[in-house]
């Protein structure tokens, strides 16, 4: 059953601005910018209406502040010898790992390094990893989805069988094999996760969406207007896919951070420091066995992984409401 999307009723408060166009390129540009701002604001207000959207933004914001805080702290109050997340050593502590104290709010790890510094330092790489992987996934998946929906036939069969193959491979185990063979660093890990996601499940989802766009009369109208294949794919199909792509970007961030944590925990990645490595260090020292006694070795990193992953996931859900009018609560 087809439910029409419920657009705002005509004449409601969200009427777009009347845009006057004069004879100058600049004014045309201004007109477009105002329009883009307007639709951004409309989407933003829907996003902000959802509690989980706000919550996810707050959490992501806190982590972003943490990522920015690290270099500032290192330049101001933290000295490199003590606080460097990899090479530092807390000479002021007798026993390592040391419990949280005023100078080391989250204590130190078995090698005498400050846990808070590690946590903050890693936040930045988690962001870089997640966002790179997401961009790669979405760029690939959107193109693959649009192209195989539009051309169909053998192109479609090829990409879809490829996707099936990738889905059939157990993702984490594949990554484990790859990282054992190649010693992946952060960038290559992002690339691999991105490529697997992009040619895998995300491509299938975006393709089915692209298929429903391809049969819309406006695609035929564009053909009659004289638009070629390239024009139709990049001007009509992909822009209509982008909202869904954005959604899957959020979900990819979650899975990239999670994959990194697992691989680091297993000690398979060539990284200087990360949340996964923090837990790995605690584990190899046998500190996970000691119950909650050494909680500061595990809880900050574990909680960060959980929180950031869920924040991006929840953000995706909230975005879903903006993108997908059928999920929108009725506003009329």
């Amino acid at each position: 059953m087809i439910t029409p999307p419920n657009f705002p009723p005509p004449g409601s408060a969200s009427d777009p601005p009347v845009v006057e166009v004069g004879h100058s390129r600049v004014r045309l540009l201004i007109a477009r910018t105002r329009l883009a701002l307007h639709s951004f604001r409309a989407g933003w207000s829907i996003f902000m209406e959802s509690a989980i959207g706000v919550l996810s933004l707050v959490i992501i914001g806190i982590f972003a502040i943490m990522a920015v805080a690290h270099p500032i702290l290192m330049l101001t109050i933290w000295d490199v010898d003590t606080y460097d997340p990899v090479t530092g050593y807390a000479f002021d502590q007798v026993d390592q790992p040391a419990a949280p104290s005023w100078r080391h709010p989250l204590g130190t790890d078995p090698l005498g390094r400050d846990v808070l510094s590690q946590l903050l330092w890693s936040t930045r790489s988690e962001f870089v990893l997640g966002i790179t992987a997401a961009l790669v996934t979405v760029a690939i998946a959107t193109t693959v989805g649009a192209v195989s929906a539009y051309y169909g036939g053998l192109v479609d069969v090829f990409f879809m069988r490829l996707a099936d193959l990738i889905i059939a491979l157990p993702g984490i185990s594949l990554l484990i094999v790859l990282s054992a063979l190649f010693k992946l660093n952060l960038f290559y890990l992002a690339l691999v996760i991105g490529i697997l996601g992009g040619f895998g499940g995300t491509a299938i989802i975006l393709k089915s969406q692209a298929l429903s766009i391809k049969v819309k009369p406006y695609i035929e109208a564009a053909t009659v207007a004289g638009g070629g294949h390239f024009h139709i794919i990049f001007v009509h199909i992909i822009p209509n896919l982008l909202p869904l792509s954005l959604l899957y970007m959020m979900f990819t961030v979650t899975s990239a951070i999670f994959a990194e944590a697992v691989l680091s925990f297993l000690g398979l990645l060539d990284l200087r420091m990360s949340w996964g490595i923090m837990i790995h260090t605690a584990n190899t020292g046998g500190y996970l066995m000691g119950g909650t006694r050494y909680w500061w070795l595990v809880v900050p990193a574990g909680a960060s992984i959980t929180l950031l992953c869920s924040a991006f996931y929840l953000g995706g859900r909230a975005l879903d409401e903006v993108v997908n009018p059928r999920l929108r609560r009725r506003h009329d």
Binding site: M1, P9, P10, G11, S12, D332
Partner: protein, 337 residues
Amino acid sequence: MTASAASPVLKVVDLSLRYLTRGGEVKAVQDVNFELAQGEALGLVGESGCGKTSVANCLMRLLPDNAQLVAGQVFLDGQDILPLSEDQIREYRWQRIAMVFQAAMNALDPVYKVGQQVVEAIEAHGVEPTLSLARERVAGLFRMVGLDPALMDRYPHEFSGGMRQRAVIAMALSCDPRVIIADEPTTALDVIVQDRILRELKGIQQRLHMAIIYISHDIAVVAEVTDRIGVMYAGRLVEYGPTAAVFRAPLHPYTAALMGSFPSIAGEKRVLANLSGEPPNLIDPPSGCPFHPRCVHATDVCRQEIPPRVERDDQWADCWHPLEEVPSLQPAKAGGT
């Protein structure tokens, strides 16, 4: 048909309905009055968005959550149904008054067989004591609306648009209602199917001596099948009267505009009158006569004050400058302008 002398089955008094929305209050129905006698057919016409479906929903007491009844009474067999509780109204709905919905596509559940859905409607109201009697009744209803009873065990998606519309009509007839409301029963169909559905509805209505309300934006569709016609604009009933009289000489300029804009195959080819503009926004309707921004006869008084009611025999309209009885307005037969 001179049924108006009999006591009305349905009487609507000063009905007003609002929808509460973010943008403000949508005044969807304002001060609507009409009555319907047994066996009579009323047509409710007007452009989309002028409140026809909202009136129908009031009569069925099927209102969305954001709807607010401001005033008015709806008497069904002398009983005001608006104050009734949801339990009480259920006895009236379908058994006294039934509705053929605007989108037949959505009125049928795609996962159940069509016959089954009608059978359930019958069982829910306890009209037939046993399942086999109910099924027999549905077979009879199918035959009545021109469907092969063998089609009872098919799914809605196996039906064409016209067949679905017939099935929905069968469902509306299932509990012997005294009043049927047909909301745009043929708008999505092509002319041949439309013609057959209208003929069928009219035949059934006359045979069973029911009262019926046809709702349409197409004034030609209701011309042949109704006794009376009500023209709605911006939530108000602006003209009301016997169909023949209204067609012969409309009083309200909006009625004339609706009629003039209709292409006809009968008679000489006329220039189609162009009704420019669109119906007003009902959150903030125009002052005075709501039709004034589009009316060719509008004057200052129209813009400022609510128009008075003018009557001619059985027919009335709300207008400051009602139209004279000019022969050029006769459509089709006389050739028109």
